[in-house]
Symmetry: C2
Subunit: 405 residues, 2 copies
């Protein structure tokens, strides 16, 4: 189950980035579950990681080693290698060492990533055994196979790609991501790998990585849970050959940032559309906050309410649940008479109650759509925040009740 029709997008390869996949047999079904990404020398790498205190072993290692020395990314699905203590760290290091030996680099040049069940020891040997196959499979056109291999409960691979011109050179940005449950800002059982051939300094690449994640992966929520493994990685190979972007003030920085944000948002929204059991894709926009934080607080109160999420699933415009969520969102001294709410363009709340002229039919027409917006004006200031979420369906319960069986 997922929202909208799925068409596998064409993606452009990124010069300097090769991807290979293999079947290590970590999952119960036999399908590719390991990915290797190889980066040309000169590539710079930046990333943002989960804020969860129980972060997984690979996250700890990535945080330590990520940078302009990173040459390989090794990703497995089926096992998160989280809450596995010292044994988990050892297992991750074993896989890093195997890639390092085959690729003739230092182990610290290999970044490990894992997603799947928490608390089971990573079967390092199975991955190590696949390292030769992973190297043999490396190719610039490996994005689609890689995007499938990192899937867990995802029903669709998530890919996005675009080109832009910087200093008369064509620059490509291509990325893949996986969800699909435990998605909440800061961040999610979410992996994202985005590469560009742009030429940009390490420090600006880190800025772009952080800003783009905040406008995308940190603005989506499916079930409010934050996983132990979230990682979103931005790689820049410098193969496009334009002059290096070294200042925030130049036009090229803005062009690159906007384009990267667009790819990040596409990949993040694809995760929501393919949220576990999702039948709706809902934009929650809260304007009129006195601070960005209070707009965000209200947006998440709406997006996390199980009562609203089940009403979305049922296509039931039960707007009382929306105002109840706004009311308990802990905005100090909220004047409810100033709060306005719309479903797309249909106003449902004004003056502390139902808006004059609202009809159940009009609300129903909006809720019958697979994609729509819940828009709130708090009437307190100028700050706007937008997040994206999905509904709570029987399928969500089924998927998560039966995940390990």
């Amino acid at each position: 189950m997922a929202v909208g029709e799925f068409v596998l997008p064409d993606v452009r390869p990124v010069a300097g980035v090769r991807l290979g996949v293999s079947v290590a047999g970590i999952k119960q079904t036999v399908r590719p579950d390991c990915v290797l990404i190889a980066l040309n020398p000169g590539t710079r790498v930046a990333g943002v990681f989960t804020q969860n205190a129980f972060c997984a072993a690979p996250v700890t290692l990535c945080r330590q080693y990520i940078g302009d020395k990173s040459r390989y990314l090794l990703i497995n699905s089926g096992n998160a290698n989280a809450c596995t203590g010292d044994a988990g760290m050892h297992a991750a290091r074993l896989t890093m060492a195997a890639v390092a030996a085959e690729g003739d680099v230092a182990p610290e040049a290999v970044l490990p990533f894992s997603t799947g069940v928490i608390g089971n020891l990573l079967p390092a040997e199975k991955i190590v055994n696949q390292v030769p196959s992973l190297f043999a499979d490396l190719a610039e056109d490996g994005w689609q196979r890689a995007a499938r291999a990192i899937m867990t409960t995802d029903t669709r691979p998530k890919l996005a790609s675009k080109t832009l011109t910087i200093a008369e050179r064509m620059v490509t940005i291509t990325g893949m991501s996986k969800g699909a449950g435990m998605i909440k800002p800061n961040m999610a059982t979410m992996l994202g790998f985005i590469a560009t051939d742009a030429v940009v300094s390490q420090s600006l690449l880190e800025d772009i990585s952080r800003i783009a994640a905040n406008q995308s992966f940190n603005r989506i929520t499916i079930d409010g849970d934050t996983s132990t493994n979230d990682s979103c990685i931005l790689m820049a190979t410098a193969a496009a050959g334009h002059p290096e972007i070294v200042s925030r003030d130049c036009e090229e920085y803005g062009l690159l940032l906007d384009a990267v944000c667009e790819i990040y948002q596409s990949l993040a929204q694809q995760i929501v559309r393919d949220g576990e059991g999702a039948t709706k894709f809902v934009t929650v926009e809260v304007k009129g906050g006195a601070t960005n934080n209070e707009s965000l607080t209200v947006a998440y109160a709406i997006a996390h309410s199980p009562l609203i999420k089940t009403a979305l699933f049922a296509s039931d415009p039960n707007w009382g649940r929306i105002v109840a969520a706004i009311g308990y969102a802990d905005v100090p001294e909220l004047d409810v008479s100033k709060v306005k709410v719309w479903l797309d363009e249909v106003q449902i709340v004004a003056d502390g109650g139902c808006a004059a002229g609202y009809t159940e039919e009009a609300g129903q027409a909006v809720f019958n759509q697979a994609e729509f917006a819940i828009r709130v004006d708090l009437g307190r200031g100028e700050c706007t925040e937008t997040i994206w979420t999905s509904d709570l369906s029987h399928e969500y319960v089924t998927i998560n009740a039966e995940y390990r069986t």
Copy 2:
């Protein structure tokens, strides 16, 4: 669906309290949906109410008038009279006036309560028409009928009763409550009405009401939503005739407080056992917090996680989801190597990973029970908090997807 066998408890009437029910036809099915509680002169009344900014009209009126002049409580189910603006206030006042006229008291001596769908105008006329029937039905033994009439999605009436001796007089405490969704501290679509014939000052009654609610109704959660209508009312008729309790330092105050807390906890736990679609009743105990607030934060992170709640439903001891929730609960500088987790007495987490000796079979045996505890030690201090919650089942989705249809 609900946890455990249901046996309608015997409840003792409280001298000075009479209850009547009637069918106003607010709901689609014809069953009692209105309750009148009549209090003898001399009764003192205290209460705690929802913190939701969009509080319902009756909550606004109750907050204004509750005290030692309150003589009647008028309760309807089927319509929450929330987010109904000035028209809702007017409708509530119409019903208060009708009871006041029939009972020959001031309108301010009547406290209104509503629970049900948010955003629809209260059909005041239907309630006003039933006022004579409600008065005619008043009886000291009306508790069981009243407990049924205030139900919405509840599958069982919730009642509790006990006696104690104060200064050689027998004192009775009897109460009823209703849930069942939108249950979260501070507070819930929760109504509670608890009466005693104890003799206690207005100020101490208010203290007891607040303390007891904090140890009970404010420690349960079903879906994390906080409703617009929650009210929990404590009435003391003084009919037991012992010397008035006027000091926190006397033994009698402690006896009464403990007994009232016991009734409140019973009524609150009955709400969780009958939570929408509940198949499990789970105690979440978090000790070792540096502050009570951080213990409570961790407890709610566990109790609100849809991933944990679906694992509870599936009887799947997926403890990785528990540590993930602890990890994202926003406890500053949490040292995960000191965190310990038990399922009842079975230790599952130690040293940042799976506890030595833990077996899936032992965890499964705990999760197979309808009632068990998830116990956490944060290893940071001495503060303990305990809350009670239920699971997230298909039935929950069904109930809330179809609530209005």
